[in-house]
């Protein structure tokens, strides 16, 4: 727990401003800066080799003292990596291999002639239709430098909160902004903070849920890798507001780069005294520790996550009591998602009125989506809430690849549903998505085209839930297995009308009687595909009279 004493440095608000100015002066010494995307997607396409080639070319041209080369967080268009940006005129290049990297130095920097065949048009809707709040620093600053974050206005919100605002004022500001939890359920953030503040306990905790388990979602990863200090700042403000002195970030083991960046960020923040005792000369003490997950989807559920932080099996427990009253080691605990914390600093800096002016009245602000699947522009996008789905898929995403037809967009991962093309004009906000049986979810959006068979899609998600069910409650542990068996039978063309009826009955039962969110939402992909693509199920059914057993005797449960 909060045992060891670390840090020791004290920082004043003036020193924070000085640090920002010093960094600005350092950056101004360079004539230009070349930014390469150092997020996981681009690194795996070889952006580090590109960096080396650029550095080598700069040295050959004698420009290495004038041009700074730095790695940033995700630049968005992950499908076309590695991405490289020339800061002086904001040119972004795609698919920059070593050769192209050298050409950028020789042609663009030396001869002022852009490398047209790799240049991305900045005016295309992919960039123009976005509104960046959470991702405003991603792709612009060096994620491994606290100075760059401070220079970009970082930790200003924390300074404002601890020196100018009382904790209830901070909570009131967040409440007025209308910010809702970005983990999927959309619980009002200010309300949650207020409950934790009022809860009685000697020690309170702030937890960041970075266990991004939904397959097809990589928003949190990009924020953690691209702008880790923003999460620390958001958590520290939350700690100040609710009266906590210890924070934990629970991050997936599958994200080694995010873990490294967070470790570094915490170290830097402690060194300059932005985490630790008496932050910015106030009475506020706050520390953050990392907890690494170990690959269990159910740990995204808050009570399971807390148990996992305590070193136990991640099994959920019934609520109430909610973690806000009895969380970590029985103490009041605030749990928010990565993206929620990323929104805190902008709300404090620019005010709740500014924030609530973005999006819709009930869903304010922006939402980050990870756009993937059968779509031209795959990558990370941030859009104002309430934007029509059509704009996301066809303008920003560029539609499905040539020759195929859009069929459905899947949001919310294994807990969500499919949105068919007749609902393309649906505004993307919490309430509207719920009306068509899907959820906002954490932000994964997978596009499917005519080649995707919906029964198989439902089966795919159910296989996931069978595997990830923790086994504590029977409806989820046994129900998901039987739903999977029925789907398997139907997809093989062996199912009957009775099987379909049983499937629907079982879905309702599992939804209504499971203990936690995993089980309660596990049937969603089946219910949703049955609602919009029922004919795909019925066309596979066979006529059979008389007694039919739903259990064909074969154990199809998979275990990976």
């Amino acid at each position: 727990m909060a045992g060891e004493v670390r840090g020791g440095a004290r920082m004043t608000v003036e020193e924070l401003h000085e640090m920002a100015e010093k960094e600005k002066a350092r950056q101004d010494l360079f004539k230009n800066r070349i930014l390469y995307c150092a997020a996981a997607g681009c690194v795996s396409c070889g952006s580090l080799a590109t960096r080396d080639a650029i550095k080598k070319a700069l040295k050959e041209k004698g420009l290495d003292k004038e041009v700074e080369v730095l790695g940033t967080g995700c630049m968005g268009l992950c499908g076309e990596g590695p991405l490289v940006k020339v800061q002086s005129d904001d040119s972004v290049y795609e698919r920059v291999d070593e050769e192209t990297g050298r050409r950028i130095v020789e042609e663009h920097l030396c001869n002022n002639k852009k490398v047209e065949d790799h240049l991305i048009d900045n005016t295309i809707p992919f960039f123009a239709s976005q509104h960046k709040v959470v991702l405003e620093n991603c792709g612009k600053i060096n994620a491994e430098s606290i100075e760059e974050y401070i220079c970009a206005g970082g930790y200003k919100a924390l300074a404002k909160a601890v020196t100018e605002m009382q904790p209830p004022d901070v909570i009131e500001e967040i409440r007025k902004s209308g910010l809702r939890g970005r983990g999927g359920a959309g619980y009002p953030t200010g309300l949650k903070w207020g409950i934790v503040r009022k809860a009685k306990g000697d020690q309170k905790y702030v937890v960041c849920n970075a266990d991004e388990g939904d397959p097809g979602a990589f928003m949190d990863r990009s924020v953690l890798e691209g702008d880790p200090h923003r999460i620390l700042e958001g958590m520290a403000i939350a700690g100040y507001a609710v009266g906590a002195s210890q924070g934990y970030i629970y991050v997936r083991a599958e994200y080694p780069l995010a873990i490294d960046r967070l470790k570094l960020a915490i170290k830097h923040a402690e060194r300059v005294g932005l985490l630790g005792n008496r932050i910015l000369e106030s009475q506020f003490n706050f520390r953050i520790d990392l907890r690494i997950g170990a690959g269990a989807f159910v740990c995204g559920e808050e009570t399971a996550l807390l148990r996992s932080i305590e070193g136990k099996r991640g099994r959920p427990r019934p609520r109430p009591p909610y973690p806000s009253e009895a969380g970590l080691w029985g103490m009041p605990t605030l749990i928010n998602n990565v993206e929620t914390y990323a929104n805190i600093a902008p709300v404090i800096n620019r005010g709740s009125a500014w924030f609530s002016s973005i999006g819709t009245p009930k869903s304010s602000g922006t939402k980050v989506f990870a756009l993937a699947g059968k779509i031209k522009n795959t990558g990370l996008i941030e859009v104002p809430m309430g934007i029509p789905l059509r704009t996301i898929i066809f303008d920003i995403g560029g539609g499905t690849p040539d020759g195929t037809e859009f069929k459905a967009a899947q949001t919310g991962g294994p807990s969500g549903g499919c949105i068919p093309k007749e609902h393309l004009d649906l505004p993307v906000d919490y309430e509207s998505l719920a009306t068509v049986g899907s959820i906002m979810g954490s932000g994964g959006m997978i596009v499917m085209d005519s080649t995707s068979k919906m029964v198989d899609v439902a089966k795919y998600f159910m296989d996931f839930c069978v595997d990830e069910s923790c086994g504590k409650c029977i409806p989820c542990r046994v129900g998901t297995v039987h739903i999977y068996k029925l789907l398997d039978k139907i997809s093989k063309g062996e199912g009957t009308k009775q099987d379909l009826a049983l499937l629907e009955e079982l879905c309702v039962m599992v939804r209504e009687t499971s203990l936690c969110g995993l089980g309660q939402s596990a049937p969603n992909p089946v219910i949703s595909t049955l609602r919009f693509f029922r004919e795909e199920y019925t066309s596979l059914l066979i006529e059979e009279e008389g007694f039919v057993s739903s259990n064909d005797g074969h154990d199809t449960q998979k275990k990976s």
Binding site: S44, P215, I292, G311, A372, G373
Partner: protein
Amino acid sequence: MTPTPSPQHPSGDNRFKLLDRTITKHHNSGDSLIEVLHAAQGIFGYLENDLLIYVARALKLPLSRVYGVATFYHFFNLKPSGEHTFVLCMGTACYVKGASAIQKALETHCKCKFGETTADNKVSLVQARCVGSCGLAPVAVVDGQVAGKLTADSAITRIKQWQEKSEEVPA
């Protein structure tokens, strides 16, 4: 909590000293079980029974609790893996872009299922739920390196390289 000296391992294996460092850092606290298991797997490669017993004693936890946690989480391996690992992502984006065809092709080629290791102990096939590189789907993590936009053929080619001349082609 007062740190207690860890029991000496009779084998004299120095790797236990490394593990002890993590255990002491966490003051032998049972709450740090997952951190300690991460460290143990990082040092030893996998969690064999003796190691679990060692951890249980050091943290003063019942072995059942340690075993329970080690088997609950997918990330912990209780069996040694092959020389090379091929982690195929089965996330939604990869699934939609045809990862299951790659899965079938690899299982046929390696003559073993995912979750198993080939008979010659060269290649372990592992499934991942999502490695978060959806823009490059279908994706695999090949000996720690992310490889994107795979096809069944390109996946098999990588495995063939290991099988044929594993000495000359470093991963």
